[in-house]
Each structure stands twice: as C-alpha cells, then as structure tokens.
C-alpha cells in the first residue's frame, strides 16, 4: 500500500552484532570490580567520623519482642498448620499475633484483605 508509510516502523537490532552485544552486556552485569574504585573527592577522615556517629545496625522491631512472651498451645499450632496450610513458623506467629486465640487467628487469616 503506497502512501501508507508514515511509520510502519519495525526497526533495528539483530543477530550477529546486536545479539553479541546483548549477550555481553548481560554477562557483565555481575562483574565485581577488583580492588577499590578511585576515591578522589571524599574527606576520608570526615567519612569515618560521620560513620561512627550513625550508631549500630538494624533495630529489632519492638512489637516482635512482645510477641515472644505470648504463650501458645502446641495443639493450636498443629490445627492452624492443618487448616490454613501454613508452615509451623507462620502458624505460631499468627497465633501469637492473636494472643493465642485460635478462633480469632483463623478468622483474621481468612478476612478479606482489601
């Protein structure tokens, strides 16, 4: 169809050259640089000091610690594992989140989440 041209644009890129480029780019993604990169513009002493001020690593969630104290019944965990098809860890966590109340835990689990 003449005059149909304006932009039937399937373009570019191909086998040999282009494919090799693609393969090479993907293969190089996880290259680890050997040795340190150049460090020109940083006041090393200041960086060290600043870092020391940042304090410790990750903070543990407060809520999680509280959950540790909740006592759960082993039979209830087994029931949740069976009925809700959860792992033991997940079932225990769910139960703890609902103060060890197995009915509450199940009802919360199946409540629509949207």
């Amino acid at each position: 169809t003449t005059g149909d041209v304006e932009e039937d644009v399937p373009a570019t890129a191909a086998k040999s050259a282009e494919d090799r480029k693609a393969a090479a780019a993907l293969a190089a993604l996880d290259d680890t640089p050997r040795g340190d990169e150049e460090v020109k513009n940083v006041d090393q002493e200041a960086a060290r000091k600043a870092m020391n001020k940042l304090g410790g690593g990750a903070k543990q969630g407060e809520a999680k610690k509280d959950l540790k104290r909740v006592k759960v019944d082993a039979g209830d965990v087994t029931l949740l594992v069976d009925q809700l098809e959860l792992t033991k860890t997940k079932a225990t966590e769910l139960l703890k989140q609902h103060d060890g109340d197995v009915v509450k835990a199940m009802r919360a689990f199946i409540a629509p989440r949207f």
Binding site: D4, V5, E6, E7, D8, V9, P10, A11, T12, A13, A14, K15, S16, A17, E18, A22, A25, L26, L29
Partner: protein, 182 residues
Amino acid sequence: MDIRVLQASDLPLIQHANLENLPENYFLKYYLYHALSWPQLSYVAVDVSRPQKTPYDYPKIVGYVLAKMEEEPADGIPHGHITSLSVMRTHRRLGIAEKLMRQSQLAMVESFGAHYVSLHVRVSNQAAIHLYRDTLGFKNEKTEAKYYADGEDAFCMKLELESIREQIRDEREAEKEKDGGK
C-alpha cells in the same frame, strides 16, 4: 493514548509488543538492563482508553522505543543508539514513532550529553527508512552486510543531535541571564 517514560512494570508488555511485531527479540532481562542503565531514554505509547477487566490490568503498550547510550563508542564520541522501536500496526499514522523518538533524543542530550544517535534498519523496510530519513532526518552511513539473522543487510543510520544541543545551550543561557538580572 499516552506517551511517557518507561517504567519497570511496563516491561512484560513491552516485550510482548516486541514479540508480536518484530523478528528481533530479547530476554526480559535485556529490557531491564536498558531500564536500569539509561532510565531516561526509553519511552512507551500506552493505550489508556481500554476499560480494565480486573484491578490488575496493565495499560496496553501500543508502541515503544528502547534506547541506550553506546558504552564504549569506537569514535570516542558519546552517542545514543536505538535498540528497538515499534508501533502496533493498529496504531499507525498518529505519528507515535516520531513522538517517541523525539522524547528519547532530547533525553540523550540532556542526561548523557549525546552528540548523535545511531540505529540499524533492514534495507528492505521502506516504511521505516522513510520515517528515519525523511521525517526524522537520519543519514545513511553505511551498509552492514548480512546483519540480520535471516541474512538481510542493514543500513547503519545516524542523526546528529547538534540542534538539540544548541537549543539546550540557549535555554541555559536565557535562564542564567534571568537569574543574573534578579
């Protein structure tokens, strides 16, 4: 229809558009590589008027340009390269390809200081060649023999981006004068 910069969530449907339209295809990871290396350069044309069937429907991609900077330019001059460009045949004649290309070219200059942009095109693809040469002003540099998997030759085309560079320089000057005048 909406023309905007590419997002990661567009990738499955960009790949889909590519597979539907063109014989040169890539892994999703190669698209991801473009999106994460030159996030400013790739654009999509999206059909926003389709009603959603589920809350998880993604807008349909009807055209895209996947672009990059040449990583180690042989001539030492920073320049862009069009990896892939296509527009669904149902969405042609709206100038989508041209609009996608213009957005990408502007970003090539602004973000990466590109001096020109290059691409390959099948020597038989009259429509695409017309777009590149007549509408966008690309010049044919040379022919690469048997560039494509099926043995077809490619034209290697090139467009100088000097006018965009100049335009940006002018804008910067104007801004500076304005700031200085305050």
